[in-house]
Every structure is written in structure tokens, then in C-alpha cells.
């Protein structure tokens, strides 16, 4: 204990509480809280009619639909493949495993603009990957499946940036998993498939959902990797951050701010959900494994 009671007075052995907490709160307020409150204060100056006209406009509704849809499917694909990658990294040995493990974090380390131009080029009709799906003729018409500059391209970019989340949330849980539980199930006659679905998978569920929520949240806010691969056509290939950026470029600050409030509230709700999931996951571990 850093505090010792002497009568009613508390004496702290360690110094610097006021200094460090004071600086923390000052810096937090200055950099994060005051600027962030500007979004809500600015929006509160709008009338309800102005606000709803912006956030429920057909263009905004189409952007929400695309943002949520593409983010959801990207997170889903990552949940499936992320689980396989995490499983393989924890359970099996193969050549180059350490390299693969380190490479998982590449989407976090690589600046989003670089990811954006790279994916747009790769999946363009004349790109390394895109040319397998579609081709472009001399007059510029695309035949076959076009990926870059379509909704499919946005989905690819969001899958790329969400890739590490599931691997990195599932991996530690899988590493801590007690093999005796598997032995117990096996000795009771369960086969591998039953052991996976009934013993291992339920333990992984909270981590898997946390990873999904984090990947989904990240995809909702993503801008840099999408702006190049999306053709940014309203109602078609415009996700919400691109719409906000468009309003900003047109100096429509009130509109941009109203949309930002909607996205912030959604982000906070996801953050809350992640906290609940973490709490659930901790309960799970203490009940079953401690």
C-alpha cells in the first residue's frame, strides 16, 4: 500500500500523485476531451430538422448501409480466416512460423495510404490480382468482375485492415487453453471434431466476438485504405468517412459534424460492447480454468 493511516491523515510513501494525475487530466482535456466536445456542442446548435435532414438523407443512409455491410462481411471473413491463422500459429509447427506470426501485424504497421494505393493497383482490371477476374479493353470498358472502384474493392480493403484483430485476440486465449480439458473430453470418448466444437470453441467465443467487434469498429472508421480503391460515387461506393470528408472539402462543417456525431455514438456503443465482452471473457476464464 502506498498509503498508511496515521489517525485520520493519510501519508503517501510515493511522491508525485498530484503532479502526474494533474498533468494526465490536463493533457487529456486539452488534446482529447475539449476538441471532442466541440463535435457535440457544434451539433447542438443545429435544429432537429437540420440535423435529421443531414443524417437521414438518402446519401447518408446509403453510406451507412455500405459502411455497415462491408465492415460486417470483412469482419466475418476475418473471423473465419483469423481463427484458422491463430489456430495454426498456436497448435502446429511449420517452416517460417515466426515470420508469419510477425507479419500478422503488418496491416497495423503499414500506413493506410500505402495499403490503399497498393490494393487499388493490385485489384484494378490490369493489376496482378484484378486481371484474373476481369479485363479492360482499349476503349476503357471493363469485362468480367471488376474489384477496384466497386463495393467489392471496399470490402477487400476493410478485410486487409481488420486482419490482425481476430488473430491477436484469439491467439492468447488459445495459448492459455488447458490441454487437460481436451484429454478429459477425449478420455470420455469425444472425437476431435466434438472436442473442438464443444470444448475449445466455447472458450474462444468471447475472444472471437471481441476481435470481431474491434475489426468491425476499425472498418467503420477507416478512411485511408478505402479512399483509393473506392470510386467515391454517392449512393454506390461512398462509405461514411468518405461522405464526411466530402462535406469537409465543400466546407459543409455543420453537415460533416452531424454525421460525425452519428458515427461517434456508434463507436462508443461498440466500445461498450467490447468492454462487456471482456468482462464476460474474464468470468469465463475464472469459472472454468482457474
Amino acid at each position: 500500500m502506498a498509503t498508511r493511516r496515521l489517525g485520520a491523515k493519510k501519508l503517501r510513501v510515493l511522491p508525485g500523485f498530484r503532479l502526474t494525475l494533474g498533468f494526465t487530466l490536463f493533457y487529456l482535456g486539452l488534446i482529447v476531451l475539449i476538441p471532442l466536445s466541440a463535435v457535440f456542442i457544434k451539433t447542438s446548435t443545429l435544429t432537429w430538422a437540420q440535423f435529421s435532414h443531414t443524417v437521414f438523407s438518402p446519401q447518408a443512409l446509403a453510406a451507412y448501409r455500405l459502411s455497415f455491410g462491408a465492415s460486417f462481411f470483412a469482419a466475418l471473413i476475418n473471423a473465419i480466416f483469423g481463427l484458422i491463422v491463430a489456430w495454426v500459429l498456436v497448435r502446429y509447427n511449420f517452416f517460417g512460423k515466426k515470420l508469419v506470426d510477425a507479419l500478422v501485424d503488418l496491416p497495423f504497421a503499414l500506413p493506410t495510404a500505402v495499403a490503399g494505393i497498393t490494393l487499388a493497383t493490385l485489384y484494378a482490371p490490369n493489376g496482378w490480382i484484378g486481371h484474373f477476374f476481369g479485363s479492360i479493353d482499349k476503349s476503357g470498358n471493363v469485362h468480367g468482375l471488376q474489384i477496384s472502384y466497386t463495393q467489392l474493392g471496399i470490402f477487400i480493403a476493410l478485410t486487409f485492415i481488420g486482419l490482425p484483430f481476430i488473430v491477436r485476440t484469439v491467439q492468447p486465449v488459445l495459448e492459455d487453453f488447458d490441454p487437460e480439458l481436451e484429454d478429459a473430453a477425449a478420455s470420455l470418448g469425444a472425437n476431435r471434431w466434438q472436442i473442438f466444437w464443444r470444448v475449445i470453441f466455447p472458450t474462444l467465443t468471447p475472444a472471437l466476438l471481441t476481435g470481431f467487434a474491434l475489426a468491425f469498429a476499425r472498418a467503420l472508421g477507416e478512411y485511408g485504405s478505402v479512399v483509393f480503391i473506392s470510386s467515391n460515387i454517392p449512393m454506390k461506393t461512398q462509405i461514411v468517412p468518405l461522405l464526411i470528408m466530402n462535406e469537409l472539402d465543400g466546407f459543409q462543417y455543420a453537415k460533416a459534424t452531424a454525421l460525425a456525431v452519428v458515427m461517434l455514438v456508434i463507436s462508443f456503443l461498440i466500445l461498450l460492447a467490447v468492454n462487456v465482452l471482456q468482462w464476460w471473457s474474464n468470468c469465463y476464464n475464472t469459472n472454468n480454468l482457474a
Binding site: 501485424d105 504497421a109 477425449a186
Partner: protein
């Protein structure tokens, strides 16, 4: 070998070889398609017009000024967030006070905010029509569409990195070592420099590496507050965008390869620090709420 391992048949303990190899194959194919191919293509596209053009692009005055601005932004934001991280971790890990969980959530907040919104909030505060915009313009000091705005936006997006590495580390270490030093007569600063800093060294280095990677690579937030003035308010990622949009693809990828190189160096350093201090493994970037991992 435990008793259980002798009794239970191997096919119940692990998957049959063909399932194992299938899963490894799927994982590697997925990783190759989404990570290795893009990585290789950055360098391939950058060198498409030859080494001469590549180095010519990197030596271009506009590229150099973008590099300079990125170094300035990272050079200011990383040390500031470092000081903040140490202060916040000291207050949170060494003392008990009410509202600690709320404070932890608030520190993590910038992670859950879209980069575009991170830029927007500074426009609302310091922009021409913002709260303090007219005051600053009266004093001939430009923040938005100028270097200070870029620095502020960079500080915001990298805000939690150092703090979120140090807080769990210092919480796990407790306060007994510092208390012992104090009781033996060390001053507060002596305790901090000789006991705390050596204990948190690797966590601090780890946080700085991650913070720096994001500071140098940030695009969305900086894009909102930069005026995209070539040679003046362009960071490296913004310069990549301008080159790409002016159809100078080889040039864009040449500059992008610098950032890719930075990302690879970050991954190598990160892996090295994790090797030195196993407790840090897996904490990088993933915004699982602090202290709840």
C-alpha cells in the same frame, strides 16, 4: 509424457495430418494473398521505371520537404505522448483513486474514433469558423491548414500508445520496489530514474516504436487539417496521395516504399522487444481495453 498421453489415442489428441496440412495451407494462402502480395507489389511498382527514377523521386525537393514535415510531426508527438504515458501510468498504477476505470476508458478513446473525425474536431476548434479560429487569425497564427494542425492531429491519433503499454506493465509490477527505495532514503526522482525506469524500459521502448509508426504513417486525420500545400503542409503519406492522384504511379509507390520499409523495421523492432520481454507480446496495436486483457 503424462498418463493421459499414454492412454488417449493420438487421433483424439490432435487432428489427422491431412487436416493439419489443409489448415496450414489455408492460413498461408490467406496470409500470402492479403499480406505478402501487397508487400511485394509496393516495391515492384516503385521500381517499375527503374532505379534511377526511384532515387530521383526520393531526392525530389517536394519529397524531402514531406519527409522533413513527417519527422517534425513525429518528433513532437512521440516525446509528448511519452511524457503523458509515463505520468498517466505512474498516477494510475502507483495510487488508488476514484474514477480510475473511467480515466482508462478516456485514455483509450482516440483509438475508437475515425481518423476523419479526429481531424474534424481540430477544425471545429481552431478552424477559421471555429471556437478559437478568429483569435488565432487575429494574432497571425495559423493552426488549421498549417503545420501546428498536423502536429495536433498526429498527437491525437497516437495519444494512447505509450500509456496503454505502460499502465498494465506498472500495475503488474506493483509499488513495493519504489516504496523500498523511498524507505531506504532515495528521493522521488532517484526512485523514478533508478527503480521505475529500468523496470519499465522495454514497455517504454515498445510504446515508442508503435507510437512512432502511427505518427509517421497517419493519413486520414492529417489529411483533414493539412491544406495539401506541396512543399509546405505535406507529410509523406499525403505526398503519396498527391503523386498517385496525379497519375505518377511509380513515384507514388517509390515514396510509399519508404513507408513500407518503416513498417517492416517497426515489425522487426517490435518482434525483438517482444523477444526481450515476453509480457509485452500481443499487446501491440490491438485496442483491447487497458487492464482488461
Amino acid at each position: 509424457m503424462s498418463a493421459a498421453e499414454k492412454i488417449i489415442a493420438p487421433h483424439r489428441r490432435t487432428e489427422p495430418p491431412f487436416v493439419r496440412w489443409l489448415l496450414i495451407g489455408i492460413a498461408l494462402a490467406f496470409m500470402t494473398l492479403f499480406l505478402v502480395v501487397p508487400l511485394v507489389s509496393v516495391f515492384a511498382e516503385g521500381l517499375r521505371q527503374g532505379l534511377g527514377f526511384y532515387f530521383q523521386t526520393l531526392r525530389d525537393p517536394l519529397t524531402l520537404s514531406a519527409i522533413q514535415l513527417t519527422l517534425i510531426a513525429a518528433g513532437i508527438s512521440v516525446p509528448l505522448n511519452c511524457i503523458f504515458g509515463v505520468a498517466a501510468a505512474w498516477a494510475i498504477a502507483k495510487f488508488d483513486f476514484r474514477g480510475k476505470n473511467i480515466l482508462l476508458t478516456l485514455i483509450d478513446l482516440p483509438f475508437s474514433i475515425s481518423p476523419v473525425i479526429s481531424g474534424l474536431i481540430y477544425v471545429l476548434v481552431f478552424g477559421a469558423q471555429g471556437w478559437f479560429g478568429s483569435w488565432f487569425s487575429d494574432h497571425n497564427f495559423k493552426i488549421i491548414f498549417a503545420v501546428p494542425g498536423i502536429v495536433l492531429a498526429t498527437i491525437f491519433v497516437t495519444f494512447p500508445f505509450v500509456a496503454r503499454e505502460l499502465i498494465p506493465l506498472m500495475q503488474a509490477q506493483g509499488r513495493s520496489e519504489e516504496e523500498a527505495a523511498r524507505v531506504l532514503g532515495a528521493s522521488g526522482w532517484q526512485t523514478f530514474w533508478r527503480v521505475t525506469i529500468p523496470n519499465i524500459k522495454w514497455g517504454l521502448i515498445y510504446g515508442v516504436i508503435l507510437c512512432n509508426a502511427r505518427a509517421m504513417g497517419e493519413f486520414g486525420a492529417v489529411s483533414v487539417v493539412s491544406g495539401h500545400i506541396q512543399g509546405r503542409t505535406n507529410t509523406i503519406p499525403l505526398h503519396v496521395q498527391i503523386l498517385y492522384e496525379s497519375d505518377n504511379f511509380a513515384g507514388a509507390f517509390a515514396v510509399a516504399s519508404l513507408l513500407t520499409f518503416l513498417a517492416l523495421v517497426t515489425l522487426v523492432l517490435k518482434t525483438w522487444v517482444e523477444y526481450k520481454n515476453d509480457a509485452l507480446r500481443g499487446t501491440a496495436f490491438t485496442p483491447v481495453p487497458i487492464g482488461k486483457k
